[in-house]
Symmetry: C2
Subunit: 335 residues, 2 copies
Amino acid sequence: MNIKEVAKRANVSTATVSRTINNTSFVDPKTAKKVWKAIDELGYHPNTHARSLASGRSRILGLIVSDIVNPFFPELVKSFEDVVTQHGYEILIANTDYCATRMALCVKRMVERQVDGVAIMTSEMDGASIEALAHKSIPMVFLDVGTVGHLVSNINIDYAQGIDEAVRHLLGLGHRRIGFISGPNNLKSARIRRSAFIECLDKYGLVENEQLIFAGNHKFDGGLAAMHHLLTAERPPTAVLASNDLTAFGAIRAIRLAGLRVPDDVSVVGFDDIDPAHFAEPPLTTVRLSRSDLAEKAFHALMYSVNISTPAGREFVVETHLVVRESTGSVPLDE
Amino acid sequence: MNIKEVAKRANVSTATVSRTINNTSFVDPKTAKKVWKAIDELGYHPNTHARSLASGRSRILGLIVSDIVNPFFPELVKSFEDVVTQHGYEILIANTDYCATRMALCVKRMVERQVDGVAIMTSEMDGASIEALAHKSIPMVFLDVGTVGHLVSNINIDYAQGIDEAVRHLLGLGHRRIGFISGPNNLKSARIRRSAFIECLDKYGLVENEQLIFAGNHKFDGGLAAMHHLLTAERPPTAVLASNDLTAFGAIRAIRLAGLRVPDDVSVVGFDDIDPAHFAEPPLTTVRLSRSDLAEKAFHALMYSVNISTPAGREFVVETHLVVRESTGSVPLDE
DNA sequence: CTCTCTCATGTAACCGCTTACACCCACGAG
DNA sequence: CTCGTGGGTGTAAGCGGTTACATGAGAGAG
């Protein structure tokens, strides 16, 4: 079942069938009708490989993430898929697992599949990979932190905004010793969150205390270990900000294991607002980073590069906002 | 950059290059070396579209799931991706969102992309879709419940085993009124879990009590609503089995909202053992369904159909086992 | 020394589609 | 009546691989 058979049945040339399907040029409505009828009757589906090969465009957009198992990413995948399919594109998902080697494989896949663009939310991306994609004229958009450049757009997440809201929230509850569990130090976006936090302390007249800042790994176990460490400080924090929700869950576990309660003894704030945050016990106060906003802007950034022949990238901003739930409360009375 | 340039540089024909890459027939080691050298120097990657078009095989396996946001599925995706990439395949993910219309679109995508096989873990699959795939000679494997047939294999999940362990565990803790929150009734696998539970009651001499069985929707809100309902029974259950973990989380929330504690007042058992189960508060006692086991068997089932020209499907079994954590405890003293 | 036979390689058709280009025809202007 | 003009369609050359078939070079047998 191919375009030739459709052409034969409709009594037209394959070119006309192709033009009808893609409406790339004017086709007499009567002819078009015949063609669609033939397509229907034969149950014809164009072969995407042949299509991509002939046209040079695959109508696929890649999405590279660092950890498909962190609920943030499936949620992002879903949002991205929604907007992308609405516009006739498909999505190719790749998972780096925080590993540079796998990152390289992901890029290789993207090149081989000739994706029309790729959205990247992971920090394993290095110069060589960017170069490899740029060399094939594949537009990129970084959903995190990056630099706009040739073929690469950037979506800046306004971490500072959400962190500021979180810190103000905690200050309002009377907290003065606020801890911070950062992401892995080699992760640029993690460093940004960390410095946003430190700036905040400064802004509100709190002194930075090295003992109250500790690195996790953006996963449960890292949060657990980090919080465990923070609790051993001379004067442990009465509230803690975690650099993502999984870390916050780990922190909560550590607090419980130490025989303390959340939020009665220690308040916890997460970051991302993944689904499990609202069904956790207690429901997690966290900074929401909108997946749909991110996905939409990523798509537009890519489309911009695909359609406009200008290879220059563009810049976007996604805001973040605090969502108050039940993992934060007033500072303990004895403080 | 294409195979011709490689051929020219290595002073051989394109056929030899192709044969070297795919080692589909003997190539003189010296020649092969030259070819690989040229490939390296030029940074050549074969174009997958051209490859698929010419060979008729895409080296892509599809994976259709019902809800990418339920953590069970990303975990399955990861496992499946691991085994699949080890064997030189790639994976195309499709998400039905529990919706029949989207299911049809997913199947269309699979056909258009000419996947070499598809693994299906969703119940939206209907006869027409199976027919569509079979018509294109695409092997299928159902990771759930299905019937083995022409080109379709099946992986039976031994729900009864895990549910039996769970019920015995609860009986051992002294529970006699055990509730059950099932999945949506239109879902075959949900009905199977439900009847496995009922058979269990019978086996251990408990009477089935209609009031203690209520349907959820395999999501948090459904579990919440169902548990809320169960708690209004004349004599509410002292323990509850949920048909998946998200449902269990919802149930726990309902229990807390009613002013009761888990496990002191009501014990809760989940199903799946998704990641969040072990970092929930309290850590969830649940029945583990191994993703890697599932993924591996799915892959082998598909490979069997792809390699052996026999279009007959095969049958596999995946076991399930109880994982005891902290959401279950002894029946309250006043019972 | 010639004849097979085998192994390694080359030649070229083909996979299913897109698209540049050529073509035809109808129509209005000169 | 001839000559653009442009809309609608067909022809055919690719896109970048795979693979059936042809070919040529040695090796061993007679």
